[in-house]
């Protein structure tokens, strides 16, 4: 317990708090003041305004999409195959690299776009706010979809029946019962989408055009102008709203999880039987699903062509480049670093979850909060923080007690910093799923283990861990997917010695070598999918443990 606690605290202090505080520190100097003034007054405050507009637009459209998909999935009677397809299309964006959809959008809807130019003969500019809103909404709406479909499923169908029984029409029931009960979930999804949109770096770089937002301006300040001070100031401007919104989201997310007050939900969910509405909703969701499918089809197709849209001859050159040429090192480096970070983050997540849920010490809340900063704080802010905190070794009396981590001369060519940031960014996922699972487990089960003579470490290993195995698995999958697709946090930390795939995708995109970029995307998606498959194989499917936790069924022999 004490060892675990010490490790957890050290992790939060060194890998999370210190970099953030370093950035805050360097933005609180006298010379930073004029920079603040510059970005908070016209004309430069437009960047801030743009950022908010982008965040609100993406959050709104993404929430609508998430709700649409969740509602159709849970409440509209449809053939199973159709539901599976829509479900899959809604989840695909989670495992795909940040630029994939943006590239597909350019190829399909850009100035020389296959659909807009070749098919429709339009002269459309995809670059700018509308392009970003389209792509980012499609990329981020799965979060809202998952939350809301879970909530819709958990709603007691008798609630709808009670309203109807008292005389409410279908629309009235939806408006006065279903919608209000989903509101915390909708709010939580909306705010999370807002934070994600604020923090996203990939799409603004690729699709932003002249529409500058904080994240892309910050990228320019560091990469283009080597202006760390401006970076730190922009980081603060990004950090403060993100943090506030994120923790408001957490408040709603917690409320959303307790919608059902009494008894057991009975029966199957109410189905929407009003045909016109059902048809419209289904058509909309299907249209979006097909769009996502088309975009991923474009990604795969483009990966096999020299320059999709211009030269559509099929080729394997792009894959040769990625798998056997220059790209190989990026692929192996990324898989290695993400592979190192994943088990550490997964374990750290459940250990911290255990400490937070079951621990008796003061500062449990702080530990939870500190760990959650890993996702609440935009990745670019961490990038700058790491640059500021770890670019020089920490010396006490001439001895380096903490080595230089970042840059090519950093420990192991900067690889340690990248692994660390992967862990920081993905531990919160494991923490949340672990905490949720632990709260379902009666503490007396652990007390029983202790009373039989097991110490706390043994109890954790032999009793708690097996019980929360599904959550642990979720944490691992989340960690790996998140590490593989990370861009904003590591973009300032990659070095010639450690190449990262997402960084390479950006490079290829900027050099208009779409074929290579798309081949990277395809490989990356495949790696993540294979890894998920492997994790399922190793850790086992969740159903058995779920069944074991359900007292109404017989406990299996294992």
């Amino acid at each position: 317990m004490t060892v675990a606690l010490t490790l957890a605290v050290a992790f939060v202090v060194i890998a999370i708090a210190w970099p953030i505080l370093s950035m805050v520190g360097s933005s609180l100097t006298g010379e930073a003041l004029p920079v603040f003034v510059r970005y908070l007054t016209p004309p430069q405050n437009q960047i801030l305004i743009n950022t908010v507009i982008l965040g609100l637009s993406v959050a709104t459209l993404g929430s609508l999409l998430g709700f649409l998909f969740a509602y159709v999935q849970v409440r509209v009677p449809l053939p199973r195959l159709m539901k599976r397809f829509m479900h899959l299309m809604a989840l695909l964006p989670i495992v795909s690299p940040p630029f994939a959809l943006a590239l597909a959008a350019i190829i399909l809807f850009g100035r020389a776009g296959f659909i807009t130019h070749d098919l429709l003969g339009l002269d459309v500019n995809i670059y700018g706010l509308h392009g970003m809103v389209l792509v980012m909404s499609l990329s981020f709406f799965p979060v809202a979809y998952i939350t809301l479909s879970g909530l819709l499923r958990a709603l007691d169908p008798a609630l709808d029946e009670a309203a109807t029984n008292l005389g409410a029409s279908r629309w009235r029931t939806f408006r006065t019962v279903t919608l209000p009960l989903l509101l915390p979930g909708i709010a939580s999804g909306f705010l999370l989408l807002f934070v994600e949109a604020l923090a996203d770096l990939g799409n603004p770089i690729v699709l932003g055009g002249n529409f500058q937002v904080l994240a892309s301006r910050l990228y320019l300040a560091i990469i283009g102008q080597y202006d760390v001070l401006a970076g730190a100031v922009l980081g603060i401007l990004l950090l403060v709203p993100s943090l506030i919104v994120y923790f408001v989201h957490r408040y709603y997310a917690e409320r959303a999880s307790v919608v059902s007050v009494t008894g057991k939900p009975s029966g199957r969910p109410i189905e929407l039987t009003h045909r016109p509405v059902a048809i419209i909703l289904t058509a909309l969701a299907m249209l979006v699903s097909l769009l996502v499918a088309l975009m991923y089809g474009t990604i795969v197709f483009g990966a096999f062509t020299n320059l999709v849209g211009v030269d559509n001859t099929l080729t394997l050159d792009n894959f040769a480049f990625v798998l056997f040429g220059y790209g190989l090192k990026a692929v192996s480096d990324t898989v290695l670093l993400a592979g190192i970070a994943t088990p550490i983050a997964g374990l750290l997540g459940v250990v911290i979850a255990f400490l937070v849920v079951r621990g008796q010490f003061i500062g449990r809340g702080a530990l939870d909060f500190g760990t959650m900063l890993g996702v609440a704080v935009p990745g670019t802010v961490f990038g700058i923080g790491y640059l500021l905190a770890f670019n020089t070794p920490l010396e006490v009396g001439g001895f380096a007690i903490f080595p230089k981590l970042t840059g090519g001369a950093g420990l192991l060519g900067g690889a340690v910093a990248i692994v660390l940031i992967f862990i920081v960014r993905s531990t919160p996922g494991g923490l949340r799923s672990g905490a949720a699972a632990l709260q379902q487990i009666d503490p007396t089960i652990e007390e029983a283990s202790v009373s039989l003579g097991a110490d706390q470490a043994t109890t954790f290993r032999r009793v708690v861990l097996p019980l929360i195995r599904p959550a642990f698995l979720t944490g691992l999958i989340y960690s790996f997917a998140r590490s593989m697709t990370a861009i904003s946090a590591i973009i300032f930390l990659t070095t010639p010695a450690t190449r990262i795939m997402t960084q390479q995708i950006l490079n290829e995109t900027n050099s208009a070598r779409f074929g290579n970029a798309l081949a990277y995307c395809v490989i990356l998606i495949l790696i993540v999918c294979v890894a998920i498959g492997l994790l399922y194989l190793i850790i086992g499917s969740s159903t058995r443990v779920d069944r074991a936790l359900d007292p109404t069924t017989t406990v299996p022999s294992t």
């Binding site: 009235r172 019962v177 919608v259 009975s266």
Partner: protein, 371 residues
């Protein structure tokens, strides 16, 4: 107030068809007539079709065939929101985002009630269920029993033609169940609303109802007042599901209209009987455990098992190869009997009942939830 609604179910059948399983007949040709203001309980083991019948009346399911009439008007195709039936759900289904007041007011607002009129109606209903002053609470701030009362108040507030109850007490503990069922009965009598109540708990059914409808496998086994169903079960299933029963083989000697001369446990006596028996045939008689007098009589039995329950002593007695369950409420007078002891006993002839001939041999399943 209008006269209480008369509800009639005409040859109601509901078949479910799911893609994985074959067709299931949940309700099979059920016909019932509910008098205005009566309290009718649908009683049966799980899966007997009682809840589906209730949901058909409420309108949450549409009958495959058959009709539902309320005061002569066919409501079978009417959507639930147009049926004016208040339902109390097993899970209560209180709206968690609304206060107690707003939960009760929900149906009234839909009926365009507002202002002081609405407030008065809600307060009156809350007072009726003894929840006065709790209108400002959220459902999550109430105990299970209080939540149940809110659910009841919400259903009653709209002054429905019919009140429907779907095992409303099954989530409460035993003591609360007993006190709340008395309250439900009191309120129903006070308002005179025709009520249909679904339960698998036979003691609940007997305590509450004017009429008990025993269901099994989608069909009605017997309909009647609780005491009638208890004393004169129509089938072996009913006898076994309602209360406890000894089934004793008898030889019919001389049957007449309502009783029969029989040989039971080697003794000749006249017991109440269903009609249709022929002299010389073998039939089954139901003997309730309390209808066996322990400690007096011409029968000699050996005590196989003896359980002391406080107000009663319960015995398993063997007479020849027949094992009988008997309870002795007068154990203080006659003393307790131990296992292996020989005791005298007798069957109270007027309390036994000979089932109709060829009654189906099926026996009700053990019900672990029964009180």
């Amino acid at each position: 107030m209008t006269a209480p609604a008369m509800v009639k179910l005409e040859r109601l059948t509901k078949r479910f068809r799911s893609p994985e399983t074959r067709e299931v007949v949940a309700v099979d040709d059920v016909s019932l007539e509910l008098a205005g203001g009566s309290f009718v309980t649908l009683l049966g083991p799980s899966g007997c079709g009682k809840t589906t019948t209730l949901r058909l009346i409420a309108g949450f399911e549409t009958p495959t065939t058959g009709r539902i009439l309320v005061d002569g008007a066919d409501v079978s195709r009417r959507t639930p929101d147009k049926r004016e039936m208040g339902m109390v759900f097993q899970s209560y289904a209180l709206f968690p985002h609304l206060t107690v007041f707003e939960n009760v007011a929900y149906g009234l607002r839909l009926r365009r009630r507002s202002g002081s009129d609405l407030r008065a109606a809600v307060e009156r209903t809350l007072a009726l269920v003894n929840l006065h002053g709790l209108g400002g609470r959220r459902p999550s701030e109430l105990s299970g029993g209080q939540q149940q009362r809110v659910a009841l108040a919400r259903a009653m507030a709209i002054e429905p033609r019919v009140l429907l109850f779907d095992e409303p007490l099954s989530n409460l503990d035993a003591k609360l169940r007993v006190s709340l069922r008395a309250e439900i009965r009191r309120i129903q009598q006070q308002l005179g609303i025709t009520s249909v109540y679904v339960t698998h708990d036979q003691s609940e059914a007997m305590a509450l109802s004017d009429v008990v409808v025993v269901m099994n496998a989608g069909r009605v086994e017997q309909t009647g007042p609780p005491d009638q169903v208890y004393r004169r079960p129509a089938t072996r299933f009913v006898a076994d599901f309602i209360g406890r029963a000894n089934f004793v083989e008898v030889e019919v000697v001389a049957p007449d209209a309502e009783s029969a001369e029989v040989t039971i446990l080697g003794q000749r006596m006249r017991i109440p009987a269903a009609t249709g028996h022929r002299a010389g045939s073998i039939a089954t008689a139901v003997v309730r455990p309390e209808s066996i007098r322990v400690g007096a009589g011409d029968l000699r039995a050996t005590v196989q098992r003896s359980t002391f329950l406080g107000p009663l002593a319960e015995y398993e007695l063997s007479i020849g190869d027949q094992v009988l369950l008997a309870v002795d409420p007068d154990w203080m007078g006659g003393g307790l009997h131990g296992v292996g002891e020989e005791v005298a006993c007798s069957v109270r002839a007027d309390q036994a009942y000979m089932l109709p001939p060829n009654a189906p041999a099926e026996v009700a399943p053990e019900d672990p939830d029964a009180v």
